[in-house]
């Protein structure tokens, strides 16, 4: 196997190597790749869309269709994970573990019995050993809101600085994942449960595609935001800028929800009872 692998990678390497001597030198501003289409973006992005961050302008407007499918890819990954892993089980016969918060004594209740949820003195814990981790919990409680705020900033400020819907969505999702890791999965469900995550992911992509459809209904081509001008009470250029913001919000919503849902499914192997 190792020999076969070596031969294959040498062949692939040779194939890739063959073309390289004819490449333009690295960092050459005059290389053909930089002279045909991309100057158009650099020179016209601001006047076409009023977005100084050219990457955002190209991502959400000039090549917005790619981005819609990129969001659809991440959405389908979320659905795929759910489809593959989720185990729907009505009644749980597993044993549950509870900790008495004041004394640290652990109770083990076998065969589906349970203490009432939300009691102040007892806390349900995962079956693998979980220490009483006040420092982690308090720190994460401190960090999570700021991370979420930063995520919103990244989404909203994608027009002017690096960032945008995708990055912001991932950061927002990461904040929720942090919450789920530092506490436990059940507590995260109380904030954002499975159905809400699914709904949010579908709604996010639908917001994107719906904006495109709206443009189509208003007489433009699919995703031609300039046709939204009358709806948004602005001129065509600002309409493009606002259209970009709308779809970035959609992307952010979808990505956030999908990241969380992927984490839920992977960390509990589809059972949705115990996480990391």
């Amino acid at each position: 196997m190792r020999f076969l692998a070596l031969i294959t990678i040498l062949m692939v390497g040779g194939l890739l190597f063959y073309g390289t001597p004819d490449f333009p030198a690295w960092g050459d501003p005059e290389s053909p790749a930089s002279l045909h289409v991309s100057p158009y973006y650099i020179e016209h992005a601001v006047e076409d869309t009023a977005v100084p961050n050219i990457v955002t302008a190209v991502l959400a407007d000039y090549r917005g269709y790619d981005t819609m499918f990129e969001t659809a890819v991440i959405f389908s990954a979320g659905i795929a994970c759910l489809f593959l892993l989720r185990i729907y089980r009505r009644k749980s016969t597993t044993t549950r573990l509870y900790r008495h918060n004041l004394t640290g004594i652990t109770l083990r209740i076998a065969k589906g019995g349970k203490l009432p949820e939300g009691s102040a003195e007892f806390e349900r814990i995962d079956s693998l050993w979980v220490p009483y981790d006040m420092i982690i919990k308090v720190t994460s409680r401190l960090v999570v809101p700021f991370v979420q705020l930063f995520a919103l900033y990244v989404i909203a400020h994608g027009h002017h600085s690096p960032g945008g819907g995708f990055q912001g969505g991932v950061i927002f999702g990461a904040a929720i994942i942090l919450y789920a890791i530092s506490n436990d999965l059940r507590r995260a469900f109380r904030r954002l449960n499975e159905k809400a995550a699914l709904l949010a992911s579908a709604a996010g992509v639908l917001l994107y595609a719906g904006t495109g459809l709206m443009c189509l209904l208003l007489g433009g081509n699919f995703l031609d935001y300039s046709k939204l001008a009358d709806l948004l009470y602005t001129d065509a250029i600002m309409a493009r800028s606002h259209g970009i913001l709308i779809v970035e919000i959609g992307v952010g919503l979808a990505v956030m929800a999908v990241m969380v849902s992927l984490y839920y499914n992977l960390s509990s192997a589809g059972r949705h009872d115990e996480g990391l």
């Binding site: 692939v12 960092g27 100057p39 992005a45 790619d66």
Partner: protein, 132 residues
């Protein structure tokens, strides 16, 4: 010899990406552990992204965000040569998303395989299949 060395140094990004593709593919073919293969797959994908980012690079130019984009100081011409080309960056954002999506699905399948055979090693899985 001089020119060869200069040629080598001028394109070291491209050599690096070829190296990474080879590392990733080696892991995908020679390693028998499924998670190792998944990591190899991701290395290949990031290597491709490195290639695209290297295409976009321009020595000594600035990032593709137009400075003072919102001060209406008349029509100051934007010189395309001053900015790094944005198009490959856009494409690679998409590629990163694709790679994380693939990672998620692959890990889900790996968990499913583990649930079924109790191991992640390909040769042990083959043994389990033989036993059945």
């Amino acid at each position: 010899m001089e020119s060869l060395l200069a040629n080598f140094l001028a394109k070291y990004n491209y050599w690096a990406y070829i190296g990474l593709v080879m590392i990733g593919m080696y892991a995908m073919i020679a390693k028998r552990n499924l998670v190792k293969k998944i990591i190899g797959m991701n290395i290949v994908q990031t290597a491709v992204i490195l290639f695209y980012v290297s295409i976009a690079a321009k020595k000594g130019k600035t990032i593709p965000i137009i400075a003072h984009g919102h001060e209406d100081t008349g029509h100051h011409a934007v010189q395309a040569l001053d900015y790094i080309s944005p198009l490959p960056h856009v494409l690679m954002l998409t590629a990163i998303v694709v790679s994380v999506a693939t990672l998620g699905v692959a890990l889900a399948l790996a968990i499913k395989v583990y649930r079924q055979y109790g191991t992640l090693e390909e040769d042990e899985i083959a043994m389990r299949i033989e036993e059945q």
